[in-house]
Subunit: 462 residues, 2 copies
Amino acid sequence: MSLSLDFTNMMGAALPHGAGITAAQLTDASDAFAKAHAHVHAMQAELGFLTLPVNEALRDATLAVAEQTRGRFDDVLLLGIGGSALGPIALRTALRPPAWNTLSADARGGHPRLHVLDNVDPATIAATLARLDLSRTLVLVISKSGGTVETMAQYLIVREALARAVGEDAARQHLVFITDPEVGALRKIARAEGITTLEVPPNVGGRFSVLSPVGMLPAALIGIDVKALLAGAADVMTRAASADLATNLPGTFAVLQHIADTAHGRSVQVLMPYADPLRDLALWFVQLWAESLGKLRSDGTPVGPTPLPAVGATDQHSQVQLFMEGPLDKTVTFITVKGRERDGMIPTRHADIPELSYLAGHTLGELIDIEQRATAGALAARGRFNATLAIDTVDAFHLGALMQTFALATAYAGVLYEVNAFNQPGVELGKNFAYAMLGRAGSEQARAEWDALPKPDPRYRV
Amino acid sequence: MSLSLDFTNMMGAALPHGAGITAAQLTDASDAFAKAHAHVHAMQAELGFLTLPVNEALRDATLAVAEQTRGRFDDVLLLGIGGSALGPIALRTALRPPAWNTLSADARGGHPRLHVLDNVDPATIAATLARLDLSRTLVLVISKSGGTVETMAQYLIVREALARAVGEDAARQHLVFITDPEVGALRKIARAEGITTLEVPPNVGGRFSVLSPVGMLPAALIGIDVKALLAGAADVMTRAASADLATNLPGTFAVLQHIADTAHGRSVQVLMPYADPLRDLALWFVQLWAESLGKLRSDGTPVGPTPLPAVGATDQHSQVQLFMEGPLDKTVTFITVKGRERDGMIPTRHADIPELSYLAGHTLGELIDIEQRATAGALAARGRFNATLAIDTVDAFHLGALMQTFALATAYAGVLYEVNAFNQPGVELGKNFAYAMLGRAGSEQARAEWDALPKPDPRYRV
């Protein structure tokens, strides 16, 4: 078993005054889960992420593009935002050595660095272009729709810089677009100019796209084992075939978080890996959980848990005070990694100083694991819901498994919350206001709505 | 005026159905604030952070240590956790070019790289030590108490590696300790071995220590203008001398967030800079706000808002869907930067493609600002509380001002919430459980309590 979830500390039996989830609540949820399971797994045509792990054609197309570029580039510059950036960043942090971009080419095994531009701050783009040798840089432009405003703006600037650096014709050899197979601006440009493209299947939403070329191409370029990632995800799909809650890990995660929120007021849901390589996985999860479940239900009720990223042991010195003593409105899901007990031996020194001597002979691996268990126990002792997701090791197989676990849990949770987990209607208004201010054609109605908003009131300014 | 806060969109007048803070609530809060102000500013002896901006002796001692090391080191390795790490990281990200550690020595103006080890993951430390040339590395060991378990464990490992690399005697010349002037293990070692130290004043808590040597030494080493940082903070102290809420920016921030939480259920408080350099400032703020205010009140009531970090425009493609349509339980405080309108000109290209042509002639600076205003307006239109903190530019003066603003706001908020903002009793239980498992002398009682906790229940495992 590669993944396991211990949720003893979510249950009333383990918490003071029995104030946790009851065995009856869990039993009652089994039926609801069985329906959610049937609903989700019947939607293979609409939910492309379910079959990405076994989409060999897409995988092979991705690997072929990676192969074509081998040895030609020292740097990969990824232009993308949201789901187009968070997955690749999470994979780089988890599966490459720390500070990858500072390592020598040798230490990188000849693979390129990977830089991600996921914002439109002018200072960042200027500094990034100033430090890259564009003649040795491959630029990935990733936008599902092919028209994301931030990514298009980045693209126009980077394309111009590339053309200046290597010439208009050669610039095309430095570009790969990852976008919809048919529609959108990027597809149009690619067709007109013969730029290499990979597709995001139309039935795969941005935040569910990490196992499509969106995540797989950057991963392959920097030497991550893409086949192992997909195998880990495929393994999760096999295990999740059963609608029996007692054996379905993603389902259990979804059901527990849903009950904790809706029946126990635990609406802030912390994901807290005790492992540096998984720091950015928590940020990837935040988008997945927040953007999928934070919705107006069809009756107009606003619902959805608030995911909160953390990292252990670091956050024991930041957020854990709040988790321990603040309002009883949170769950904490730890992620732990097995097999580190012998890593990072702490040497004997200053044996006369009690604050240090007790550490000698222990390892950092022991310490980080002990701290996680201590924090979990302390939270439970204070009535704070928590669960521990354990993986055997941080490798491509387990990353693929973790990501597919959370993606599947999100789909189940959408059914439990009675929302559409696969759209994001809430961001349209702000987008339209921005279009109006930028003078984009067709945004006259948004302009009128914008102009009608209350203006900054000088009384409410300090 | 270097900083301003527009809170129109927190107030009922700007929100649908008037469902915001009322003018009467704000007026009523003036008296409570005046008391909080008097209380905080009367505690200069206890609250050392109030006078850090004008502590010239401490500043000069810090600059002298920085001067002594000039030219001797290519890398600075900081060992610290929580307040000992978050401030230095936030300063590096804000005030040095992006990807500082990847730049050449020339591009760094001859200043060293800065690596921060803020966790005890054995994989991270091993990789960090493997890539550094310790003969050219200065190691800062930062612990207020001088005995923080994670930092002591890091220190023992790094000290051993240093001794192997440069010899026992020379190793001492590669170390600076920043710790309490009298007590703790680090102070003892420094005295015994003649290691250079700087002090954290005993009346300055870890999360309020960024303007002490904790933040100032790393900042000075990498070429940040420490005097300007302190000047910005001093400016905030001058402006905050008045107890008049209408002119006190930190007070207004504290009061608004407190009312939003306690009277309107807006308990999740987002800090969302629209500027890449301020990404890590949000994480620094999270510790400050969470660890100071997440407390049991003396009557046993758990209180405290939950800070949530975000960054714009990036999070428009992640968390903003939840902020717009999820539960009405959040406030969003934007940070914007003036004067970027002409930065990052977007060139004309693909003028025949409507998704791109409307961008030509605009700049990234315009785009990021327009997106911020659009998001603020959209949130308000949907009844979501938000405010905008504007700074003139991202420089040392404004960073000092921002940090002192938030520190002061936190102190005021502690009074409003009726908690002690300067302790962290909630983390003791977990710490003691960890000591017990590590076999530290004196932890027998914690061991007994730990052993009495419910064990993992195989029924609650999948």
